[in-house]
Symmetry: C2
Subunit: 262 residues, 2 copies
DNA sequence: CAGTAGAACATGTCTAGACGCGTTGAGGAG
DNA sequence: CTCCTCAACGCGTCTAGACATGTTCTACTG
């Protein structure tokens, strides 16, 4: 071993009120935060920690579990536990749906990813006619069936986002919006061609831990929350013409917004 | 017991590849999602689950641990495990720093909370001269000392947000901004009075799991991520006059933004 | 009747060990 | 030299039990 990490971990304080597994987690967390363990580095193995601290394996596992739920480390079956590498994040700017970008002929996700030098992909597109969930229906102002466009986005092969758009059928039916590939500029370009000039978007941002299906779809490590965005597009008549419900891996994005001071 | 929850949980499938503790968690999660267990309801106790499924206690605890990290339940020592109640959320609108609100004489947090019928409090105000962390320094365009204003916000007695503002000393020194209570309208009103008419704010939103100190300051249950906001205020000369670094309990807020389509 | 000690029950922490399965590298077979 | 087998190692799952500590309610005491 080039560097004796386990030997530098210190010893338990048996007089402390703090639980043993928390003390062990504290030592490991400190080693990560102080930079003695870098991104991607392997932590001491469970049996090394058992030997060093003189505790049972379950106690050590409890410590590692804690660090996992904090998002600091990731365990890989058969290999070891590693300091979690921070993936490159995408900065999303609040003008990402501005018309000038759309006019380049690219959808927002693609255009911005390429500008950031990231290879984007889109995946698993499903277009259906569907009754929208009731919070979406409330935003669309109708509980009728709508066109739903579901898809998954990837960065450099890693899935980072799933999104489902809902567009009222009277707008979408029989247009390229109902096709899997809606053409250059994406569905917003098609909406504008159909006379629904876009005025603004309202976006709501929540964050929470992912559901099992979201963990699966985005290959999320434990300790990774998700952003839940609900974006409503309004045309110049004030009508909601699209609601987009998005789940994003929170470790892959920074959302940027400009707020008015006036 | 008015309702035999544990009896309705189904049995393990010994032929399944899915780990036993995951199957148990699945049943409990389903009971919550289907509404057989409501917010605040107590789950079957560990020993009841041990009896029902015929497994050891550690296996049951593993299931409950999983649901805790998902944010679905919360364990209370000596009392039981309960379906986590969803606290009332605050909707933050993207115009929350608009001047018209400031002119009412109230700071943004207070004004918006009262409008939502929530009793707001501010807590633990610390004003110092401090060298800002380097990401903040980069936004201020200076690594010199700045005035830092730290404080904690509460809703109905529950801590939900900590924030630290950094203001360049040449702007803040000797003004009410350097006082614990900066007066009506908050520091933004004072900045404008000092000739720094505000033009816009840039806000960056991240989400991650909380650090131990954040768990402590915000009394976070496990399975609760935090929003990390960094907001930079620009005056009409284009100068960054304040950077505000905020940690918010993610289960207490919905962030709203308006995006331009042009 | 009020107050309290204690039992019963709840979760928290920890031990010691067993078996399973994915990964890796050394050493032998071809 | 190449390929394959297998042992060593690493984490994943599960058992059975012990003791600690917080909570609640009962029943006894004064």
């Amino acid at each position: 071993m080039s560097h004796d990490v386990v030997g530098e971990l210190g010893q338990l304080d048996p007089t402390s009120d703090r639980a043993v597994f928390r003390q062990i987690a504290d030592y490991l967390r400190e080693a990560i935060e102080r930079g003695r363990l870098h991104e991607g580095d392997q932590l001491p193995s469970e049996s090394q920690l058992v030997d060093h601290f003189g505790v049972s394996r379950m106690t050590v596992r409890n410590s590692l579990q804690l660090l996992q739920t904090e998002g600091l480390v990731i365990a890989e079956h058969g290999k070891g536990v590693f300091v979690r590498p921070r993936p490159p994040v995408r900065r999303l700017a609040s003008d990402r749906f501005a018309r000038r970008h759309r006019e380049q002929g690219k959808a927002a996700f693609i255009a911005e990813a390429e500008q950031a030098g990231i290879k984007p992909e889109v995946d698993g597109i499903v277009v259906r006619e569907d009754r929208p969930p009731k919070d979406v229906a409330a935003r669309l102002g109708s509980t009728r069936k709508a066109l739903s466009r579901r898809r998954r986005y990837l960065h450099e092969g890693r899935p980072v986002e799933t999104a489902t758009s809902y567009i009222p059928l009277d707008i979408a039916k029989g247009t390229p919006i109902a096709e899997p590939n809606p053409g250059p500029g994406g569905i917003y370009a098609r909406l504008e061609e159909a006379g629904h000039t876009l005025d603004h978007f309202d976006e709501e941002v929540r964050s929470r831990m992912p559901l099992p299906e979201e963990i699966k779809a985005l290959h999320l490590a434990s300790g990774t929350p998700v952003f839940h965005l609900v974006r409503t597009a309004f045309d110049t008549d004030g009508r909601a013409v699209e609601v987009c419900d998005t789940i994003m891996a929170a470790d892959a994005f920074v959302l940027g917004y400009r707020l008015p001071a006036r």
